[in-house]
């Protein structure tokens, strides 16, 4: 009502017809892509160095990646060792204390952190570009000479145990842990956090041995992005990392990923929950698989974007949830596809039904041309945005080297996405969105939601510590 009055007055005053164009304006001519100029070089010790100028701000970002992963052979004797090494490596080197490292970072406007995942450990750093030499010196010191002082190791062991304890109160942590274990079984990709006993068993000698085996230049790559001059920066890198001794990477020996022959429910009981945290999914494909682009795009259409089928259904139509999602996580050996939502207790069953319904719909019928075209635009447009940030570009180049993808990945991205057909999407959905063999993980209050859950399959119940409580 009020709007109409406002408009009328305006028309009278200005004497022109006021209003908005009724249809969206057409795009202007496409702008040049400005793909980054990427240079690859190698040091004599075998370290691969990749440089890409992106002078959007006077800063530099670097990522050094080691083949020190959850899958590393040391996992058998020392579960969680890659993670603990990553936690303690920047807490002291042969020539710097933990505090000296942090203070050096502060004075170059820098950050430095390590993280280990299923396929690698990354040492990431950034600084004002005027201090790039000092940043490389620090990275090199942490990579080559971490000293793992006893006091720092002991503190990290204690704090990691407490942090995991704190995490076990968080439903997202519990759902992720259960999902990884349900999907990957005995394969090391199922690893999320080590247990207390394994953490406490680690010694300084174990950590030093791990670094000498896995933090080696000939099995690592360094990506440098930012306000840099490639030649000058390469010279700085060579000076900082040139004396790093090469080594031999131990072979891996990983069991196969288990195959699920029926749908199973993994319920983590968390009394007092006012929501059910739901993950549904299964193992999928390795990063190098030819179906990477198809499954990535199927994910965009299903639940990987805001205007996705899952969001339109259980958020915008039914109001069950705030932020439903799906994701395709592809890694070196295999990957997983998962859908999920956090919903009030009363709609736990109805949500499961809709998640499965939307998965099945992707399998039995082709998506529309409009949906596919939107997903293609979404992927290619957001890819450009990603490449415009130092972290985004460094991360993208890093995956090319970590997963040994075609070096032309960035340049080919658009054409690979544009070549997809609706039949490709349906084919990968039929294969990987398998609702009959899905793992369903729910973290919630069993007493409040059990009647809604049991119709969907056999239930194995866990407590927050990961112990099996019961099995049906």
């Amino acid at each position: 009502m009020k709007f109409v009055i406002t408009l009328t007055i305006l028309v009278l005053v200005s004497g022109v017809v006021v209003g908005q164009q009724k249809t969206p304006p057409a795009p202007g001519p496409a702008r040049p892509l400005n793909l980054p100029k990427i240079t690859e070089k190698k040091l004599a010790n075998g370290l691969t160095v990749v440089l890409a100028p992106l002078p959007n701000v006077p800063k530099v970002t670097a990522v050094l990646t080691f083949r020190a992963a959850t899958t590393a052979s040391d996992r058998v004797a020392h579960p969680g060792i890659a993670q603990i090494v990553a936690t303690v490596a920047n807490e002291g080197t042969d020539t710097r204390t933990s505090k000296q490292i942090k203070e050096e970072l502060r004075s170059i406007g820098g950050t430095l952190s390590l993280g280990s995942d299923a396929d690698s450990t990354t040492l990431s750093s950034s600084a004002l570009s005027e201090f790039s030499t000092r940043m490389f010196d620090l990275m090199s010191d942490v990579a080559q000479h971490p000293s793992f002082p006893d006091s720092e190791l002991k503190l990290a062991q204690e704090n990691t145990i407490q942090q995991i304890r704190a995490g076990r109160a968080d439903p997202g942590f519990l759902a992720n842990e259960r999902f990884q274990k349900a999907v990957f079984g005995n394969h090391p990709y199922s690893f999320v956090v080590p247990d207390e006993k394994s953490i406490n068993a680690l010694t300084r000698a174990d950590l030093r041995d791990f670094v000498s085996k896995f933090y080696i230049p000939n099995a690592s790559h360094l990506i440098v992005v930012g306000d840099i001059d490639p030649d000058k920066t390469f010279a700085e890198v060579e000076k900082a990392f040139g004396s790093w001794k090469s080594g031999t990477l131990p072979p891996e020996d990983n069991p196969a990923v288990p195959k699920r022959d029926k749908r199973q429910i993994f319920f983590v009981n968390r009394p007092g929950s006012v929501q059910s945290t739901i993950y549904v999914g299964n193992a999928s494909i390795p990063r190098k698989d030819k179906d990477y682009f198809a499954i990535r795009t199927a994910n965009t259409i299903y639940g990987g974007s805001f205007y996705s089928r899952l969001t339109r259904n259980i958020r915008e139509s039914k109001g069950y949830t705030y932020s439903p999602f799906s994701s395709s996580n592809t890694q070196a050996k295999t990957g997983s596809f998962q859908a999920g939502a956090f919903v009030r207790n009363e709609v736990t069953g109805p949500t499961l039904l809709e998640i499965l319904y939307e998965l099945d719909r992707m399998r039995v019928a082709a998506v529309t041309d409009e949906e596919l075209n939107s997903a293609k635009e979404y992927s290619t447009g957001n890819f450009s945005v990603e490449l415009a940030s130092q972290n985004g570009l460094a991360g993208r180049i890093n995956t090319i080297y970590t997963y040994e993808l075609d070096k032309s990945f960035i340049n080919d991205f658009r054409s690979k996405i544009e070549a997809l057909t609706t039949a490709d999407i349906q084919r990968v959905a039929a294969k990987y969105f398998d609702t009959y063999r899905a793992a369903i993980v729910i973290v919630g209050d069993w007493e409040k939601v059990k009647d809604q859950v049991t119709p969907f399959g056999d239930v194995t119940m866990y407590d927050a510590e990961g112990n099996v409580i019961s099995k049906s």
Binding site: Q275, S374, I469
Partner: protein
């Protein structure tokens, strides 16, 4: 433009050497700023580093203005802005942006609410058309309101009610530290208030606060200023202005006595403590020193509180917080507290944690900071400032809040100056003046004693 400047500066650096702290690279973000006849503030900044543009609209309304009985309403209203307008159906805003290669979001804060889309730069006019359509003709229905009341209730459950600690370092700390309801109330909202909102509330809020004369439109990226100006005029010129919305009373009495609150937590496994100190107003001469003092105390792993609590005394696991819980020094307009949150180890008490934090403060108040510490804090400050400017969205954000709160987005190029000029003496004085017990609120939150659960099938 920016690229050639950086090349020039890089050359300059080679000539001068790279160890001088004094040689901070001056910023030169191009800024075009003007107002439409209806009062809409417009900021345009060209940046051709990537074929990308961000369109942002910042409205001068946040959760501090929502009325009693309607906690969480400003945020619920933000959701309603995606429910359709005259030419864009419910949720189609998302469809248009994503189908054109972009991403989008909105955010409700203390004193502003923003909407933005980042897209390939040749789609800039689509972004303007979408924003103009909802500014002109938001179209809401009872059904859509009910739907978003459900969605927002789930948002509150996932981020607050089903989480350990339940955001106590924001929601509970603000409720206790502030006296004026406008500042103190829960901005995420009580579920009962969120679900009590009516369609008339939505319509009147829109009319009062979502007028062009209460908004900033910012466009940053690979566009031509003159072309964009024409598009802005075409899409926004005819939107009617409204009476200037009433300014909320945000005045806050001086706190004179320490406040201590004890809480139990049904879901958490470890205890945590949060503190909040009232800080000087943004236009106070003490403000830049206070901002650097926050960095020195808790800005990173080298900071004094982190080193004392986590490393030396091994009392706590982490340290988080800052000068403005949701943002930075520039994106709010009203009273503010510096917050600190730390999870402490079982077997210790909040008193021990507070005692160590106080010991660090006592040292600062008597001995001050070292020259190196201050110089480093400035370098760190500059570095994080640049990071905020890295993306088209980051620049959009800063330009928008400077236009909204200061009517002067060009300040982006000189924002660092007052912080670069802070002296060690000012830091010491700020610590003595503001970081005193009488000026703070402390909340100790400990896990409720649990009875072992015996779930049956």
């Amino acid at each position: 433009m920016q690229r050639s400047l950086l090349v020039f500066l890089a050359t300059l650096l080679l000539v001068l050497g790279n160890s001088s702290l004094a040689l901070a690279k001056p910023l030169n973000v191009p800024v075009v700023y003007y107002k439409l006849p209806n009062g809409l503030k417009v900021v345009i900044s060209e940046d051709h580093i990537a074929p990308v543009v961000t369109v942002g609209v910042y409205y001068g309304v946040g959760f501090r203005v929502e009325p009693k009985g309607r906690t969480g309403f400003a945020h619920l209203f933000e959701h309603m802005m995606f429910q359709g307008s005259a030419n864009v159906k419910k949720f189609e805003h998302a469809k248009y942006v994503e189908a054109n290669g972009g991403s989008l979001n909105g955010h409700t804060d203390f004193d502003y609410t923003n909407y933005f889309e980042t897209m390939p730069s040749n789609r800039v006019e689509l972004g303007l058309w979408l924003e103009a359509d909802r500014m002109r003709s938001l179209d809401v229905s009872e059904d859509n309101l009910k739907n978003q009341q459900n969605v927002v209730s789930e948002e509150v459950r996932v981020n607050v009610l089903n989480q350990p600690y339940q955001f106590f370092e924001w929601i509970d700390l603000w409720q206790n530290a502030f006296t004026n309801w406008n500042n103190a109330h829960n901005g995420y909202g009580d579920l009962a208030d969120i679900n009590a909102a009516t369609i008339d509330d939505v319509r009147s809020f829109f009319k009062t606060y979502y007028a062009p004369n209460n908004a900033v439109l910012t466009i940053v990226g690979d566009v031509d200023v003159n072309e964009v100006k024409k598009m802005v005029e075409k899409n926004f010129n005819s939107i009617a202005s409204q009476p200037t919305p009433p300014k909320p009373d945000l005045s806050e009495p001086q706190q004179t006595k320490e406040k201590r609150v004890a809480q139990t937590d049904k879901l958490a496994n470890l205890p945590a403590v949060a503190t909040g100190y009232h800080i000087p107003a943004q236009n106070s001469p003490d403000f830049p020193a206070m901002a650097l003092l926050v960095q020195i105390l808790q800005g990173d792993d080298s900071s004094r509180w982190y080193q004392r609590l986590v490393k030396e005394k091994e009392l706590t696991l982490d340290l988080s917080g800052g000068l403005n819980y949701f943002g930075n020094e520039f994106d709010y307009s009203g009273p503010m507290i510096m917050t600190t949150r730390t999870t402490y180890k079982p077997g210790h008490t909040a008193d021990e944690v507070i005692r160590e934090m106080d010991a660090v403060l006592a040292e600062l108040k008597t001995k001050g900071v070292t020259d190196k510490e201050l110089a480093d804090a400035k370098v760190r400050y500059r570095s994080s400032f640049y990071s905020q400017l890295e993306s088209s969205f980051g620049k959009t954000h800063l330009l928008s809040v400077l236009a909204l709160f200061r009517d002067d987005p060009a300040q982006i190029n000189s924002l660092l100056t007052p912080f670069e000029n802070v002296t060690a003496e000012q830091i010491k004085a700020a610590a003595g003046k503001y970081l005193v017990a009488a000026n703070r609120t402390v909340i100790d939150r400990v896990p409720e004693t649990k009875t072992p659960s015996k779930p049956g099938q």
